[in-house]
């Protein structure tokens, strides 16, 4: 049990470190002079003359071997010093953290909405397996898979913001402005969650112990509530976590289209403007969060495995 946690945590650290090495290398592998790029991310004022560049390069240790530079960079990063944005000339961390908060709340809202909609749908479909209700639910939710965000988002804007004028088309200023981005982002999880809930429930319904429970005098609804729903839906927790990590990256399109000031948009802009420090900081934070959430999902999965009796093992 401890070894499982230790192994997983080690894998997590390794994944984040590998990502950070790749990110650290960005100034060196992109076109242009890495020394100038790095100086620009460390010094607020403009530096143009060769002698000051040389002096700064020495004082920042840019002549040291790369591994040494990497460790120094990593140390600064871990203390929250991600350097200065090339464009806005303000510390990267001040831009990354608010954006992260926005994206995380967008993703959580979308996942919450998806769960609230899809779980009842999946349960209903399973209980009516093969009948008309099941077919309608399955057909509609499955069709959501084929609706990409970049197609759906403009459509929603067209209908709700322009034609009906009931919701704002952009921004992240209040509940109303959140509806369209959340709806867009929730659509595909809805279809996957519904189908997972349905099949989980169908398996759980077919288990022998459900009939056994009824032979003890539990009514059908009681048996379903006590023995089918928990068993059928608990495995979905892992799916939620996987989707959480997936949507962190997948929210870029939604954030750009709806002008949501989140991580996706931040990174999009950073890349377009070649704002290397901003992109570096953003990517490392997003990767770390995604890996942490996925690992947490693994732990939860282990805890829910009845064979392990609720222990991590």
């Amino acid at each position: 049990m401890i070894s499982f946690i230790a192994r997983r945590t080690a894998a997590l650290v390794v994944a984040v470190l590998l990502a950070s090495i790749a990110v650290f290398m960005v100034p060196y592998v992109t076109p242009g002079d890495p020394v100038r790029k790095i100086i620009r991310s460390r010094v607020a004022g403009d530096v143009v003359d060769a002698s000051s560049i040389q002096a700064l390069s020495d004082s920042l240790g840019l002549q040291d071997p790369l591994p040494v530079q990497y460790l120094r960079w990593l140390g600064r990063f871990c203390t929250g010093d991600m350097g200065l944005s090339h464009i806005s000339r303000t510390p990267v961390v001040e831009q990354v953290m608010p954006a992260l908060a926005v994206t995380v709340s967008l993703v959580i809202l979308a996942l919450g909405a998806a769960a609230l909609i899809s779980l009842p749908l999946g349960i209903t479909a399973a209980l009516r397996e093969g009948r008309r209700t099941d077919k309608i639910i399955t057909t509609i939710t499955q069709s959501f898979i084929a609706m990409p965000e970049y197609w759906l988002a403009p459509l929603l804007v067209l209908v709700f913001a322009l034609r009906l004028a009931v919701l704002p088309s952009a921004g992240w200023t209040g509940p109303a402005s959140m509806v369209l981005p959340v709806a867009t982002l929730a659509l595909r999880p809805i279809s996957y969650f519904t189908s997972a809930a349905r099949s989980g429930m169908i398996d759980a319904l077919a288990a022998d112990h459900v009939n056994a429970a009824r032979s003890r005098g539990l009514s059908y609804p009681q048996a379903v509530l006590r023995h089918v729903v928990p068993n059928g839906l608990l495995p979905l927790t892992t799916l939620f976590a996987v989707w959480f990590a997936g949507l962190l990256g997948g929210s870029v399109i939604v954030e750009v289209i709806f002008a949501v000031p989140g991580m996706g948009r931040l990174l999009y802009d950073a890349v377009l403007n070649s704002d290397i420090p901003l992109a570096q900081g953003g990517v490392v934070v997003v990767v770390a969060l995604a890996v942490v959430v996925t690992t947490a999902a693994d732990f939860v999965h282990q805890l829910l495995n009845p064979r392990l009796g609720g222990r991590l093992g």
């Binding site: 003890r216 539990l218 006590r226 928990p230």
Partner: protein, 573 residues
């Protein structure tokens, strides 16, 4: 006030032309042990499910009456039925572990009927849970209550389910093959437990089984069911001693793999030259030799844990030419590991398994020194074949049987397509099946047919040694006998040497020349069959032998308490 169960002229069916039960009538009085016996698919389980009205979708009780005391159940509404289910009538199922929600503890299961039928909650329910578990024989009820089904052994899970069925204080207990998945010793324990409940609280028991032997000792009344109708009923002694219907006779015959009749099919046959009548092991040439074979599945870290042990430790065993060696052991004793090691599906840790066959020099010697096993796998014409336990699992469900049977032959490059078909046809005839079966899918065949097909498949490669790993355990008594006799015939006609692995004492006694007993991965006894069953040496063997009383002995006894006391002195005190 205990009440009896009366069923009159019960018809259950799908509504279409097919009826599952036609005109079943039976009664179970308080304190009565009624056995309902029949082959698989005869409608036994449907009878139980009709009583509880928990039939599969599309199956309904069409007419007839099911009464518990004065309460009519056939037409009752769900509310009434829910108070009867578990409250008036308890249910025991086959495969106890699958009848518990794997995510919930035993205690949480037990509290459902306690709340529903006895109105017990909170502390009172907790206390009652422990009381029930102690009653069914949990030494430490507290631990049992916190356990989940998978943490219990098969026997303990069946006890827990008995506690669950008794929790609502029912008058009648329906027991649907509750011991079929358990080995002999556990089976007897469960039956004893039920018998005690019957005596002490006047529980009426309807015990459903395919094996008439199981209940011979306990039943007051025996009902024999064939194709949805009861073909014979009467007091147990009468039905078992003087069966009237041909079906009952067949069932009894199949069930009595008793020592008296066992050599029947073999006596009077001309003895093949390879089979010397005085069959001392020493006189036979050894064909398979195991020397100090050990296998340990544990990782180093876990080896120190209490209760853990190697799967096989230090097994030395010989199989003579044309011999039938019975390997006896309870679940978890290492029987299957042994079989898998012999044919090379499992790498052994130490020791040596070697073959000594006439054509071995020409072909190949399948030998297993650790690490040398791949040599054995390359054999084209395999001298050792394995027949698995679960026939439905040993065929690809999407492959026609002809294709499945042909697969092992495809490695014989020297055979043409016609020769392959000829061989398959020959093998099918040998096991007594219709070649028409070959164009079916496994799902379209019965367990008995499939098990004979697995044997046919094993024969295709002309083995000298056939290893049967619980080959008949999944079959009902009639089919079991059919398959066993087939094995005996093949053994006789082809001079096959057999290793027969089973937990079933009767099968071993019926078939084997010698018996080897595995206990916790060790070989504790090897003896001639007659010797073994009369004078078992090891403590474990003695326990096994005493648990497996032949039916004829039981029938000669009329007074049940005596029998029980004699058999199980520990239980009586």
């Amino acid at each position: 006030m205990t009440e009896g169960l009366v069923i009159e002229d019960l018809h259950t069916g799908t509504g279409g032309t097919r009826s599952i039960l036609s005109g079943v009538s039976l009664s179970v009085n308080p304190g009565e042990f009624v056995a309902l016996v029949g082959g698989s698919g005869c409608g036994k389980t449907m009878t139980a499910m009709s009583i509880l009205q928990l039939l599969p979708p599309h199956v309904h009780v069409q007419s007839g009456s099911i009464r518990l005391g004065s309460q009519e159940l056939a037409t009752a509404d769900e509310g009434v039925l829910n108070s009867v289910r578990g409250g008036g009538i308890g249910m025991l199922y086959q495969q106890p572990k699958r009848m518990f929600n794997p995510r919930k503890t035993i205690a949480s299961h037990l509290k459902e009927p306690l709340k529903r039928h006895c109105g017990l909650q909170g502390k009172a329910a907790d206390a009652k849970v422990l009381e029930l578990l102690a009653e069914v024989g949990f030494d430490e009820p507290r631990l049992g209550a916190q356990a989940k089904a998978h943490q219990l052994s098969g026997g303990m899970a069946q006890r827990a389910m008995t506690a669950l069925a008794l929790a609502g204080a029912p008058d009648i207990l329906l027991a649907d093959e509750p011991t079929s998945s358990l080995d002999k010793m556990l089976e007897v324990q469960v039956l004893q437990l039920l018998d005690r409940e019957r005596r002490e609280r006047g529980l009426g028991i309807l015990y459903i089984t395919h094996n008439i032997r199981t209940v011979a000792q306990f039943a007051d009344k025996v009902l024999v069911m064939e194709e949805g109708t009861i073909v014979e009923s009467g007091p147990a002694q009468e039905v078992l001693n003087y069966p009237r219907s041909p079906y009952t006779k067949r069932l009894l015959e199949a069930a009595s793999l008793a020592p008296e009749g066992n050599r029947g099919p073999r006596q009077g046959q001309p003895v093949p030259e390879s089979r010397v009548p005085e069959r001392g092991v020493q006189e036979r040439r050894e064909v398979l030799t195991l020397e100090r074979v050990s296998k340990d599945f544990r990782t180093k870290r876990r080896a120190s844990k209490r209760g853990n042990r190697p799967a096989l430790s230090d097994i030395s065993l010989r199989l003579g030419q044309g011999e039938i060696l019975g390997v006896l052991g309870q679940s978890g004793s290492g029987k299957s590991t042994l079989a898998r090691s012999i044919i090379g599906l499992e790498n052994i840790d130490s020791g040596r398994i070697s073959l000594n066959l006439q054509h071995a020099a020409l072909q190949d010697v399948r030998r297993q020194d650790a690490g040398l096993q791949d040599a054995g796998r390359a054999v084209q014409h395999s001298p050792v074949q394995l027949v698995f336990q679960e026939p439905h699992d040993s065929f690809d469900p999407r492959m026609r049987l002809r294709t499945s049977l042909e697969a092992p032959l495809l490695r014989r490059k020297d055979l043409t397509k016609d020769e392959r078909s000829a061989r398959i046809l020959q093998a099918i005839e040998e096991v007594g099946l219709d070649p028409g079966l070959l164009d079916r899918l496994p799902g379209q065949c019965s367990g008995g047919q499939l098990q004979r097909l697995t044997i046919a498949r094993a024969l295709l490669l002309e083995p000298s040694i056939l290893i049967c790993d619980e080959a008949t355990s999944a079959l009902d008594a009639l089919t079991q006998r059919l398959v066993l006799n087939l094995l005996l015939r093949l053994h006789r006609d082809k001079g096959l040497s057999l290793v027969l692995i089973s937990h079933d004492m009767d099968v071993i006694r019926y078939m084997s020349d010698r018996v080897a007993v595995l206990f916790k991965g060790r070989l504790v006894e090897v003896a001639e069959t007659g010797e073994f069953f009369t004078r078992p040496q090891h403590e474990h063997s003695q326990a096994l032998v005493s648990a497996a009383l032949p039916v004829c002995e039981l029938l000669s006894r009329t007074v049940r308490p005596q029998t029980t006391a004699r058999l199980f002195p520990a239980e009586a005190t």
